[in-house]
């Protein structure tokens, strides 16, 4: 059965090659920081499953120190002036490799679930989408290398160029997920839920709806993830008050409550893969530029969600 471990090996090898590429990149003034960072990432992917948990923790700490001491830099890519010319030559054929990953992901998600060999599923049914995405990416990369007659070394150095522009931010979503696990063990959510019920005025239906939608958004901003906020805030406010005391419809309250949490996701650097990583990928000078663009939409939607919940939940 093909599981995520296959993708981990591929990713681990890619980061190992990024590390080697960084070590030999004399145009990067801080190349040893990059080398250390990508080596640690490669070790985590290749050996993480066999290492003791404490060692995995130390790997994360070491990577955070490399990033925190600002030891990572960027190499100067070889100047290339003929991109427009090349684009002219390839025309719309350029879009073909770009479209392979989504198409393969879609097809794989729909069909691979049903493929089995000797009664064993070919692909881990729980991970079909991710594995299809991985397969799509590999197929597309191979297609592009053949189409452009590019050696694997070219693909790797182009990949590393982009990876360096993202830098340590690449690790942030995964590190935040790990922080979420520590928060869960330390029961941070329960403490915040307790504070919410103690401090917010919750008498009437409108007040409890406001407390719930606002609480979902705020707690999501702290945790970076609406999924972490949802069980806590719903158990603290929605179940006993909006649904229990005032008779709100559970499906409406919970559906709109979750969407109120998503408004919080749009406004916090803790939701790194949606807000901080794209700012790095698009090379925005302001790390919070994407958040700034989202705040007005998020605030209006938060008000809209509150109104919608109040209007709909007690009526259906």
């Amino acid at each position: 059965m093909i599981g995520l471990s296959v993708l981990y090996v591929v990713a681990g090898l890619m980061f190992a090659l990024f590390a080697i590429g960084s070590a030999t990149d004399r145009t990067n003034p801080r190349r040893w920081g990059n080398t250390a960072f990508w080596t640690l990432f490669a070790v985590s992917f290749l050996a993480g499953s066999w290492l003791p948990d404490v060692v995995n923790g130390l790997i994360l700490v070491a990577m955070a120190l490399v990033a925190g001491f600002n030891w990572m830099g960027r190499g100067q890519p070889a100047p290339q002036t003929d991109r427009a010319e090349r684009a002219e030559r390839w025309g719309d054929r350029l879009f073909v490799p770009a479209l392979i990953p989504p198409i393969v992901t879609l097809a794989g998600t729909l069909w691979l679930k049903h493929v089995s060999i000797g009664g064993q599923p070919l692909v881990d049914p729980k991970q079909v989408t991710l594995i299809s995405l991985g397969a799509g990416i590999l197929l597309a990369t191979a297609t592009a290398m053949i189409m452009f007659r590019a050696r694997p070394a070219v693909a790797l150095s182009e990949g590393r160029r982009l990876m360096d522009s993202v830098g340590w931010a690449a690790l942030l979503p995964q590190a935040l997920a790990a922080l979420g696990a520590v928060f869960a063990v330390a029961k941070v959510g329960d403490v915040i839920g307790g504070i919410a019920t103690d401090w917010l005025p919750l008498d009437g239906p409108l007040a409890s709806v406001c407390a719930y939608t606002l609480g979902m958004a705020l707690f999501t901003m702290v945790m970076g993830n609406a999924f972490a906020a949802f069980p806590v805030m719903t158990a603290a406010i929605a179940l006993p008050l909006i649904i229990g005391k005032h008779g709100g419809d559970p499906a409406i309250v919970c559906a709109i409550g979750m969407l109120s949490g998503f408004c919080g996701t749009l406004m916090t650097p803790m939701a790194a893969n949606f807000n901080i990583v794209p700012a790095a990928l698009l090379e925005l000078p302001d790390r919070n530029g994407v958040i700034r663009a989202q705040i007005p939409t998020a605030l209006i939607l938060l008000i809209a969600n509150t109104v919608l919940m109040y209007v709909l939940a007690f009526r259906f």
Partner: protein, 233 residues
């Protein structure tokens, strides 16, 4: 209560603009140690607590490696950029005389929201769609209007491209019945003795989805107006 020191560490770290990765790791260690605070705490217990916290952190870090698998796409995107993908995306936009930044992003938002509502959440995203295609197209549309586009406006257009992907995804995906958040709500209600059908949940995501399209779509039109003004049109 002491565990809130971890949350405080996060807030302080971001406020002081410390490196976010370092902030996150410090916050995790602070939280783990703060959870131990009680009368009679000894240095030995503190040491064991720190090791335990590292283990929880390390296990979760390892278990969440799948999040970083998406970076496998970078060599492909890099190759395509080298052959001029961004330039081609720009040419495509410049050929459409009526294309403006706002209209283009609005079309992308409708597609992103629509496909997410059908459960196809991985058809978009920042590394695979926004950086190579959507952001350059939005930039090209802005440039077509104003050849002297300021850096500030250029960055705003890029930020809006990323924001549009997020907003389309967030307020589309909950209409699909088998998405993780719907299943989480269903499971949570079930453990509390309330049975709801996923379809019943996803239906109530539709009003917000419509409002999201109107609000963000409206802001995209305002972005167009702002760009036009700056271009002196």
């Amino acid at each position: 209560m002491w565990v809130l020191l971890g949350v405080l560490a996060v807030v302080l770290g971001f406020a002081l603009r410390l490196n976010p990765l370092l902030t996150v790791v410090i916050a995790a260690l602070v939280t783990g140690l703060a959870a131990l605070i009680a009368p009679g705490l000894t240095p030995v217990m503190l040491w064991h607590g720190a090791v335990d916290t590292l283990a929880v952190l390390g296990k979760a870090f390892k278990d969440n490696r799948y999040i970083s698998v998406t970076w496998l796409i970078l060599p492909l995107i890099g190759l395509l950029e080298r052959e001029g993908l961004q330039e081609r995306a720009k040419t495509l936009i410049q050929r459409l005389k009526s294309a403006t930044t706002g209209r283009l992003l609005l079309i992308y938002m409708v597609i992103r929201q629509g496909t997410a509502a059908l459960g196809l959440t991985s058809l978009g995203g920042h590394p695979q769609m926004v950086r190579p295609l959507i952001a350059p197209m939005a930039e090209a549309a802005a440039e077509a209007q104003d050849p002297n586009l300021s850096d500030q406006s250029r960055n705003r257009v890029k930020a809006f491209a990323a924001a549009t992907d997020n907003i389309g995804l967030f307020f589309g995906e909950d209409i699909f019945i088998a998405i993780a958040s719907i299943l989480l709500i269903k499971g949570f209600l079930e453990t509390n003795g309330i049975i709801v059908q996923p379809l019943h949940l996803s239906v109530w995501a539709i009003p917000t989805a419509i409002v999201a399209l109107l609000v963000h779509g409206g802001r995209l039109m305002l972005l167009d107006r702002r760009l036009r003004k700056e271009a002196g049109l």
